[in-house]
Amino acid sequence: MSAARWRWWWTPLFFLALALVWTWPAALASGEQLVGRHFDVPASLWFLGSSPRLLTSLTDPMTGWPDGVTYGRPDSFTALALGWAFQWVHPGRIYGLAQIVGVAATAWAAEAFAREIGARAPWSLLAGLAVGFCGLASTALLEGYVYHMLAPWLPLFALFWWRACRGGSLGDGLLAGVMFSLTLLTTAYLGIAAAVLLIGFAAGGLFRREVSPRAWAGAAAVAVPVCAIYAASFAVGGGEDAAAAAGEASWRVSTMGRSAHLLAMAGPTASQDQFAHSASATPPIATLCVAMVAPVALRGLARWRALALTGFGALLLSMGPVLGSPEAHLFPLPLALLEHLPGHTLLRFPSRLGWAWIVCGGALAARAATHIAPRAGRPTLVLFVFAFVDLFVIERLPHRQQLQNGTTPSAYAAHEGPLLDLFPEQLSRGYEFDAWVQARSCYHQLDHGRPIASDCVITRSEDNPGWQKSRTLNALLLSGDAAEAGALLRGWGFETVALRPDLYRSHDRDRMLAALAALDPEPAVSTDGGEHLIAYRVPP
């Protein structure tokens, strides 16, 4: 297939069809069945579904009852806007469609960037396959951070900033600024990845003396005010800083597990899906290998070295602060320099900076393949077979994807007013259990619409007001002090307390049921929505 015969609209169609298969069963996602493996799925759905409310004020009286919660550091402003724009659609469906469209759009944008630096179709598709369908993308889909896939802005920023650093126009600069802002507003990590591209391409432009001051001024005119507002919001937003709480001394060790270390890059294992939130940084292997030989293939040609060096730098940054294991630090990597900066502990997932190297590596590989193909002939087409092996055999999507029950228990609808969900404490993998039950508690609010006690963004159980109140109530009810429990509930303003008795050990369950029966002898009971729920009305 030659570039001349390739129609431009084949590219988005190709990526859309492939995304439909790769993200399956996202096309079937709805309010009854949610697509994703981990607890961030219901949490993200709450975020999408609550966005019309959160956009009017980031201080939310409907969660963290009775005090409310200020979500000053929302994970993604883009997701907020998406949820607001499509508020007439169930968030479960938005979430599923966003997976398909996000993957396809990101791939298409990466393909466009590859064409910008000299690749030609169909070889430019290699860049789209690399970026839209990489290990970081599969992690986002499985773990539940769909907004990481709403990021065609990153490759588009690369495209316009590349132009701006190569004598581009004011329009190129303005568009680069817009794309940088959208990337930052999509997630902070993608914003940092864009900053790596910004520095690398700018250095290349300065070295070749091809920089366009007009374009740079245009980019700064848009991006600087947005960054300033974002930073101000971040600074006053408060919220948790778990890494800081854990102590700076542990930053190196804690970030190593969240970096693109050699094991994480080798391929996702069943254990990663089961116990590590499906977090893998598996690179698109075909692309990586072609990018590795690109310096030889493109020898003597111009306009690829800044791309290669920027990609290599981003890869090093994504590998975390040290090379080695928690027991033996072999030698520090460039990210270790951040330790001297205040607030460095906020950077908890260096592997996500890998988006920058995949954008560069994908474009570089596509350009190299474009250059090789006319000379090496048909064997070059095998690279597409390799890319498909990466997608379906190495990444193993859609095989690894799962469905979650999204139906809300009907007992929630028996009463009105603020409600408190009670949960036991589980010793084994307690963090996972707490996060699951709190996320589902938040998700159900989309349906019942009643104020709840949980903070729906915080991840540390001990800091979650819902977890704290549940713990206090559990202690009172287990001791049989129903009167004191009732008084406390009334004091907080709750009108319903919801119990999932199955999750308690049998002897605790009996005591909880006996104590709560004193509050409401005829509670509402339901077993739909995948949960056995008993809702007790708090007596006035």
Partner: protein
């Protein structure tokens, strides 16, 4: 037609009963061993004795992997207790906790270490702990080997292209 097919698939997925496959693997095969799993399924107490007699699909009798299954209406979180009995001794609780359950079909696996006090550990796939380590190692090394192969192929392509360029 496509809409109908999607709607049909959607309906099937929603209406399908929940199946949870339970798998416990032991390294030491003990014919006196009895592995029982107790669950509370939407308020109803359930109990299943796992078997290693080859009756289940894909099971090999006496291989140390004990299988069982629970079915019912869709459940999101399942509290489970694994009790192990050996001979005439009374049952010992080897594991207890609650696990999130994927909609439709899910499987839960444990590795059981027998000793004075049997203990079970959640694992990702049915296997003894030694086998599980082997599988994990294979899952890591296979992509590395694949990368080496692809790199050699890419280098061969470049060499082929450069040969064409040579005068």
């Amino acid at each position: 037609m496509l809409t109908l097919a999607l709607a049909s698939a959607l309906q099937v997925a929603t209406a399908a009963p929940q199946t949870v496959r339970l798998e416990v693997a032991t390294a030491a095969v003990d014919p006196r061993l009895v592995v029982r799993v107790d669950a509370v399924w939407l308020g109803e107490a359930r109990s299943v004795t796992l078997r290693d007699d080859g009756a289940a699909t894909g099971d090999v009798a006496g291989d140390g992997v004990w299988l069982g299954e629970l079915r019912g209406e869709a459940v999101s979180m399942l509290p489970l207790t694994i009790t192990v009995e050996r001979g005439s001794s009374s049952g010992v609780v080897a594991w207890e906790g609650s696990e999130p359950i994927a909609l439709g079909e899910d499987h839960l696996s444990w590795a059981l270490e027998l000793g004075d006090t049997p203990r079970a550990y959640r694992v990702a796939a049915t296997a003894t702990s030694r086998e599980a380590r082997g599988r994990e190692a294979a899952a890591v090394t296979a992509p590395i080997a694949w990368a080496c192969f692809v790199l050699i192929y890419a280098a061969w392509l470049v060499e082929r292209a450069l040969r064409e360029d040579a005068p």
